[in-house]
Symmetry: none
Subunit: 250 residues, 2 copies
DNA sequence: CACAATCATACCAATGAAATACCACTTTGG
DNA sequence: CCAAAGTGGTATTTCATTGGTATGATTGTG
């Protein structure tokens, strides 16, 4: 038996004395239970606020209060004029080479970036190894916090050889746009992906708890001639991001 | 199982008020399902936008919106004046499709497996969706604990249609060996990766703490004709397994 | 009474979708 | 070779429905 939203609400409705609780909290739990039971798959549209209010004999304000909490929690997404939807995880192709910005734009999300650091410096030994540079060479460094629709999704630390891009301020939103402008869009990349626990600092940046799972990705991007143009390490919130990869045999 | 586009759309269509969803999203999903089922081979032309609109009683704008999304995702290609086509697989991925056993052997580690469960049962709704089976069909289920050099690395839950392998005991160590013996080695697979926190049970199996990060991987493996032969969900210890992929642009 | 939750209502802004028309390109057939 | 037919590309208008927001009345409770 599939759980229905209305049934779930009525279940929470009765039991008045022992478990008295505010209407919008009851409704909120009802919606959450229904989603978690799988009756509303991700991407599914909820009934409209007006419908819900009418069917449950509540005012629209109350319904909105219930929905609002779940939107805050990231369980629901609302689109003005369209409706309320069960949130979908963001899916990124692991085998196609796209920058973060292009990727989000393609999904109709609003990418935003906040620069935590932007400067020039000497390569660290690790960067020298990854970028194939001699010790002492210069790189530009970007440390960026990535948002989708104003929710933090990832922290990225990027190093680009100063011989490729000399001015760190040339990178506005998308590194790949900046690279394309100077004819250096990479055509190949190696990625390494693993699961890690977030440290306290990173957790704070990403607005979740320390220790929560995240995807750690290291990427080296190459030009046709084999030069490395980018070395990036990223941390993606585990609860918001999926990667898909298509594999081929033989 | 072959699916038709119109059938697929109507399947998503019914369910009326309980399962409301926007028309262009329904159509989009329908087209995607149809392509992934293998009914439309790469290079195949779709019906024209006007035909689709007429047959499905939608406006052409709506049809275009559905198609547009899939073109953005690279699943379809449109040629002005010619038509809409299922995209050829341009990207030759270097990611090789290998089972866990082959993978570890290649790394010079000693694979070992312990069966936690091995049996036959009816498909769950989730499996039915993933394997493209009808509800009520049988699958064989394997739940395996994977070791490398006697250290636990992953738990894997696998479902294979009983029409492909009827006897669960036919699988000794490697599922892919067993599939190869009967000439059903998959040639393509889709994987989904994300980071999750381990539950108490899984943590115990993998000999680490509850809540520690892990890679959750869902894999659907396909034959040439589009049939799904395997649906596996795995949990890899985050501190012990890396995933490496080579990406290609353009 | 004071206060907060809730209801009722009205209006605004954004989106989905339909209907329609016209353009530009490709394919096809005479 | 050329014209007709069919294809995607684009734009416009119209309408219903949806979420976004503000305001004031009503209810229940301490």
């Amino acid at each position: 038996m599939q759980t229905t939203l209305y049934g779930e609400y009525r279940k929470l409705d009765r039991g008045g004395e022992a478990q008295r609780s505010l209407a919008y909290l009851r409704l909120r739990r009802a919606i959450q239970n229904t989603i978690e039971s799988g009756a509303f798959p991700p991407g599914q549209a909820l009934p409209s606020e007006r419908d819900l209010a009418k069917k449950l004999a509540l005012s629209r304000v109350t319904v909105r209060k219930a929905i609002g909490g779940l939107v805050e929690d990231g369980l629901l997404t609302q689109r003005h004029g369209a409706g309320t939807f069960v949130a979908e995880r963001i899916v990124k192709s692991f085998s196609r080479l796209t920058g973060f910005t292009d990727d989000l734009r393609a999904r109709g999300l609003k990418p935003r970036v906040k620069f935590l650091e932007r400067g020039v410096g000497e390569v660290t030994p690790e960067e020298a190894m990854a970028l194939n540079l001699s010790p002492g060479a210069d790189v530009i460094r970007l440390r960026r916090l990535r948002f989708a629709d104003d929710k933090p999704l990832a922290v990225e630390s990027t190093a680009v050889p100063a011989t490729v891009i000399a001015d760190p301020n040339a990178v506005k939103l998308s590194l790949y746009d900046a690279l394309e402008e100077i004819g250096c869009r990479p055509t190949r990349a190696l990625q390494r992906l693993r699961a890690v626990a977030l440290g306290a600092d990173e957790a704070k940046l990403l607005d979740c708890d320390a220790g929560s799972p995240a995807l750690a990705i290291e990427r080296r991007a190459f030009l046709d001639d084999g030069r490395v143009v980018e070395f990036t390490t990223s941390l993606y919130r585990g609860d918001a991001y999926d990667f898909v990869a298509e594999l081929h045999g033989d």
